[in-house]
């Protein structure tokens, strides 16, 4: 059996393991083993690649793998779960950069036109993914302002960049020996990644990192075409499909189209007026305790504010006390709560909340009428009843968690400032809503002290 054949068979086995691992990610009970199968697949693929007889010198391969592996291992151990969105954004960027480099180094004087086109594609997608992800990383980690950056003539500049990329790409395919066209395409792709992400605000970041996740896969796919490698194509398209599905889920959960997220900042719609009737009714932690003590069914709706206040551990403690008191406690998690898909679930799982208590929006909403107390922690737009009731509201039509259907709603909130989108929330003025002002973590700690 030739080495070439063994390598190819290794890629087949690896692809099978990736697919099997992904299938096992379908349930939290098997997900961890699924991830291990996927990792095993990667190991098989790497060993298969190392068998390649074209390799004459392993020094730099091993050096690169050791350095990269060490950085990855340290990062994976050190990262706090609240910072997962940044880490995923950064890793998307690295994936894009790797594909850019693979495409670039695959270029040889005797590349045919089809290969040249795929090389350009992997460089383009990789480049856009790299800088786009770095900007997303900067916004998520608040190293740069998380707001949308817009300026007049932005559309025109972007159009020029796109035209430049297309022109440069065509010229490169016609004159592959002139590296200047290649440099032009690389430079413009990097620029376009920046231009594409700066006009997108922080609240839309879940969509952006999902999309960049997909791009990092598509870039790997394009690189696979450039170097004729099946493993890259299979793995890349699985990642591409995953990112696209998550992007769709996020857009649907915000009732916005992808183009609306990408091309128009939220700012343009936030100045509409919503007339709200009723008054704000604050509650003290003492009184909140008496209500909770009598409750038999509590739903907790967390938002990004919970992560900011680092309140997930005290929330878990409160959950335990309520359960000891004979109360049923569930969590209602909106798809866009947090800064990336599933972010709240990971934070709560880290705080030891069992995953069967984490309910999706469609599971919790029908139960809301039987809930005695719904506790909203650091969430705003995802519980805004204006999305159902006020047709002029910019978020009208967005699916929300119907906390107002519960007997009583507690809203834990620092102050009356409106949410990220700058939209007034009529929930705060509802008859059955009580506002528990203050830092979420401290408010819950006070409740816990009352219980014990």
């Amino acid at each position: 059996m030739s080495t070439e054949l063994i390598t190819q068979l290794g890629y087949v086995v690896a692809s099978g393991l990736f697919i099997f691992g992904l299938k096992m990610l379908g349930s939290p009970a098997t997900a961890r083993r699924g991830n291990m199968f996927s990792a095993l697949g990667m190991l098989v693929a790497i060993v298969a690649a190392l068998l390649d007889q074209g390799i004459v010198d392993f020094t730099w391969i091993v050096a690169g793998m050791l350095v990269g592996g060490a950085i990855g291992a340290v990062a994976a151990r050190a990262v706090a779960m609240t910072s997962m969105p940044e880490m995923v954004a950064l890793f998307n960027g690295l994936g894009g950069a790797a594909s850019l480099l693979v495409g670039w180094s695959a270029l040889s004087p005797d590349s045919g036109t089809v290969t040249l086109v795929t090389i350009v594609l992997s460089i383009l997608i990789g480049g856009v993914t790299l800088t786009g992800s770095l900007i997303a990383y900067g916004k998520l980690s608040e190293k740069i302002g998380s707001g949308a950056i817009t300026f007049s003539g932005q559309q025109i500049v972007n159009s020029l960049v796109v035209i430049g990329i297309l022109g440069g790409a065509v010229m490169f395919c016609l004159n592959p020996t002139d590296p200047n066209w290649l440099y032009l395409v690389i430079g413009l792709a990097l620029l376009f990644g920046i231009m594409a992400v700066i006009p997108i605000g922080g609240a839309d970041m879940p969509v952006v990192i999902s999309l960049l996740n997909s791009y990092s896969g598509l870039a790997a796919c394009a690189a696979g075409f450039a170097i004729n490698n099946n493993a890259l194509i299979v793995a890349g398209s699985l990642v591409g499909a995953s990112g696209i599905i998550l992007t769709q889920i996020m857009c649907k959960a915000m009732n916005r189209s992808l183009s609306n997220v990408l091309f128009s900042g939220f700012a343009s719609v936030s100045n509409e007026e919503t007339v709200v009737e009723g008054e704000i009714k604050p509650i003290t932690a003492d009184d909140a305790y008496y209500v909770l003590e009598a409750a038999t069914n509590v739903a907790i709706i967390p938002g990004y504010g919970m992560a900011v206040a680092q309140a997930q551990h005290v929330v878990k403690e409160l959950t335990e006390l309520l359960e000891k008191n004979g109360c049923e406690v569930n969590f209602g998690i909106h798809p866009v709560a947090g800064r990336m898909p599933g972010h709240m679930n990971v934070l709560l799982a880290e705080a030891d909340v069992p995953y069967d208590q984490l309910l999706e929006m469609d599971e919790i909403n029908p139960r809301m009428e039987t809930v005695d107390v719904a506790i909203v922690i650091g969430a705003n737009d995802v519980v805004n009843p204006a999305a159902r009731e006020v047709e002029s509201s910019p978020i009208y039509g967005m699916p929300v968690i119907n906390v107002a259907d519960a007997r009583t709603v507690f809203v834990l909130k620092r102050s009356m400032a409106s949410g990220f989108a700058g939209i007034e929330n009529p929930l705060f003025y509802k008859e059955n809503t009580r506002m528990l002002f203050g830092d979420a973590k401290e408010s819950i700690a006070t409740l816990i002290r009352e219980f014990s």
Partner: protein, 94 residues
């Protein structure tokens, strides 16, 4: 059958398979799904390995070495952090 049309065939099948599989991943696991996807997109390391091992110290080789390094960060970091996260997910006892 070889060349681009064969690769396109594989591409089409894997995209459909990917859509089917990922639609079944529950929302609870979307963050591990994304970090796991990061790890899988590190598959570029496989392509980069042969480019980095030519032994000729040309630009193509150094680009390959760079790609090996970056993709290795993705592979190792992605799988480890996904494993760490999935370790948090526990069922309610009793």
């Amino acid at each position: 059958m070889s060349g681009a049309e064969y690769l396109l065939f594989i591409l089409m099948l894997s995209i459909f398979l990917g859509f089917e599989l990922i639609n079944k991943v529950p929302a609870t696991l979307h963050t591990p799904l994304m970090s796991g996807a990061n790890a899988v997109s590190g598959i570029t390391v496989v392509g980069a390995i042969s480019l980095a091992g030519t032994g000729s110290e040309t630009m193509a080789m150094w680009l390959g070495v760079g790609a090996v390094t970056l993709a290795s960060i993705n592979v190792v970091g992605g799988y480890l952090v996904t494993d760490r996260m999935l370790g948090f997910f526990k069922k309610k006892e009793g």
